[in-house]
Subunit: 334 residues, 2 copies
């Protein structure tokens, strides 16, 4: 569980805060939603955090965000006392990374901007510092073309928000070293996350591609008038959603194949399913479609502020995680 | 929760078994996995069940299946005593439906066979009997072309297995009457299910189309060597799976859009996502792909019989349902 506050990899240094697999000082680049969430997670695991962002309200934004995150950290069983004692703000990027063991970057999703950021970090950070970018769309290979030591940079793409959802996609670039990948995985694991290393650098990585494929068909079905958004959501939570929380799609079809498992499924129902693939929807997010989806979203969810809905969802998420425990994908309850 | 053994719609008749929204006698056509699961659910709710199937081992098959389902019924909080006292077998279809209040058909997925079955049922069943087919692929409109009273037939497509998973897709044909739809929904609801009426009869209905769209991309990513089956499954359970168990895809993106909700999401990240749709994978389930998926399934899941894996998965499923309770899609814990 991400809730475990002290993994075997954690030990408390009597001279100061925790040291997590060789990491004590972290720098979070970017004071937005993802940066704030990483900062909260690092702080809750006893690390020092320096947040750097040129915007003048960075400190205000992060402190407000932290306040909203603290109840979730507590529900996850993480310590929440004195978090801000180990938090500082430094608008100057070079100064902010000067003592970093880990730099987690959450800058704008533009290659040029990321290259400039990482060039500065490479010059100013200690030689041992681990470089991770939260990017969901810019490959490490491309960013690292601007670096002297491309082997130090890896994608550590969280599923939002990182303080709650276990997945971190670790995506090495062509020149990322195995040691960098290993260190990133060890650190994310010590933070209670479930890192997954991809074997190939593909656009969108894995989780977002899968999500996008399902959402495409969802948009088609709503635009085609088969169901409303609220009806489609209920269908998902009452069937495939609850299934995939416990076992992924391959395991689910393995169990759906009877004693013959997935091989039997593939040669029987699988062929029939594949025959339908060319007939899945190909919707376009044009103006009328966006207008329809917007109208239905207002009907379905508009009665309450997003923040309150999200808070309730996250509480349910934690109840689910507690019920399932570590062994989600092995299909076991805690 | 499907676990509720006595809903307001249930009452015990002192003269005999329960009467569920006017239904006491059910006939289950087809002694396969789905038929057996429906039979178990009906029996656990106090109904009489007649199973009809021409195969000589129908009784043996259903009794063995029931034995496997009883622990799940018990875990769901349903009564499991004396189930078989209300179960009988009748190989002759006309005789089997002669006293039915509900006929739930799980025959072969071939139009001609289904039409023949339903013609016989229509002639032999009481005038008030509700006609539901579990088909996942044959439209009610097509089957009903063979009937005198097409208004009586509706699709009640469960997500397997119906005794556990809440969703039942209720899909009216062109000539299905509103009363039939209403009665089917009332009955499935009284059985603890979550019926969802579709507004249009589309191939694959909704849950299977969504599942198929995601699985298509999953096959692509594994065939392309980005991840293994086991890695992809872990990615899903640790991110979108646990998300969609609590809130469907539209609600999830509504909450991912910040204070502006889904409308903001659509005009920002949505456009970017849609730009990737044409680049999603278009795999073919050809021989080499099936061989690869089979090999990986054996590596990932081959160490244990499917039945044992399924049993563990179902226990985890019930733990999840108990943790989330009724309010899954409203994002609330029980």
């Amino acid at each position: 569980m991400p809730a475990t506050p002290s993994t075997p990899a954690t030990h408390t240094d009597p001279a100061g805060p925790a040291d997590l697999v060789g990491c004590r000082n972290t720098t979070v680049i970017g004071a937005g939603v993802i940066g704030t969430s990483w900062a909260a997670l690092f702080l809750a695991h006893g690390l020092h955090v320096t947040v750097t962002d040129p915007r003048p309200d960075a400190e205000e934004q992060v402190l407000a965000g932290l306040e909203g995150i603290v109840p979730t950290l507590a529900a996850l069983g993480l310590p929440t006392g004195g978090l801000t004692d180990r938090l500082r703000f430094e608008p100057d990027l070079a100064a902010a990374v000067a003592a970093a063991d880990l730099v987690q970057e959450n800058g704008p999703e533009r290659l040029g901007v990321k290259q400039e950021i990482w060039r500065t970090v490479e010059e100013a950070a200690p030689a041992h510092a681990l470089f991770a970018t939260s990017t969901s769309g810019v490959p490490a290979t491309a960013i690292a073309e601007a670096l002297e030591q491309p082997e130090r940079l890896v994608v550590g793409h969280p599923f939002n928000p990182p303080h709650l959802v276990p997945l971190v996609e670790v995506v090495p670039g062509e020149r990322t070293s195995p040691e960098t990948v290993e260190r990133a995985c060890a650190l994310y694991t010590a933070l209670g996350k479930k890192p997954q290393v991809l074997r190939k650098e593909v656009p969108g990585f894995v989780a977002n591609r899968l999500q996008s494929a399902l959402f495409r068909e969802a948009v088609h079905l709503v635009a085609d008038g088969v169901v409303t958004e609220a009806e489609l959501d209920a269908i998902v939570t009452d069937s495939i959603g609850m299934r995939w929380a416990v076992a992924g799609p391959f395991r689910t079809f393995h169990l759906g194949g009877g004693p013959g498992g997935l091989p039997h499924f593939l040669t029987h129902l699988g062929t029939q399913m594949a025959a339908g693939w060319p007939h899945l929807g190909r919707p376009v997010l044009d103006e009328p479609t966006v207008a329809l989806l917007t109208r239905q979203a207002q009907d379905a969810f508009g009665g309450e502020p997003v923040a309150e809905l999200a808070e309730r969802r996250d509480r349910a998420q934690i109840a689910l995680m507690n019920a399932l425990g570590e062994d989600r994908d092995r299909g076991e309850a805690a």
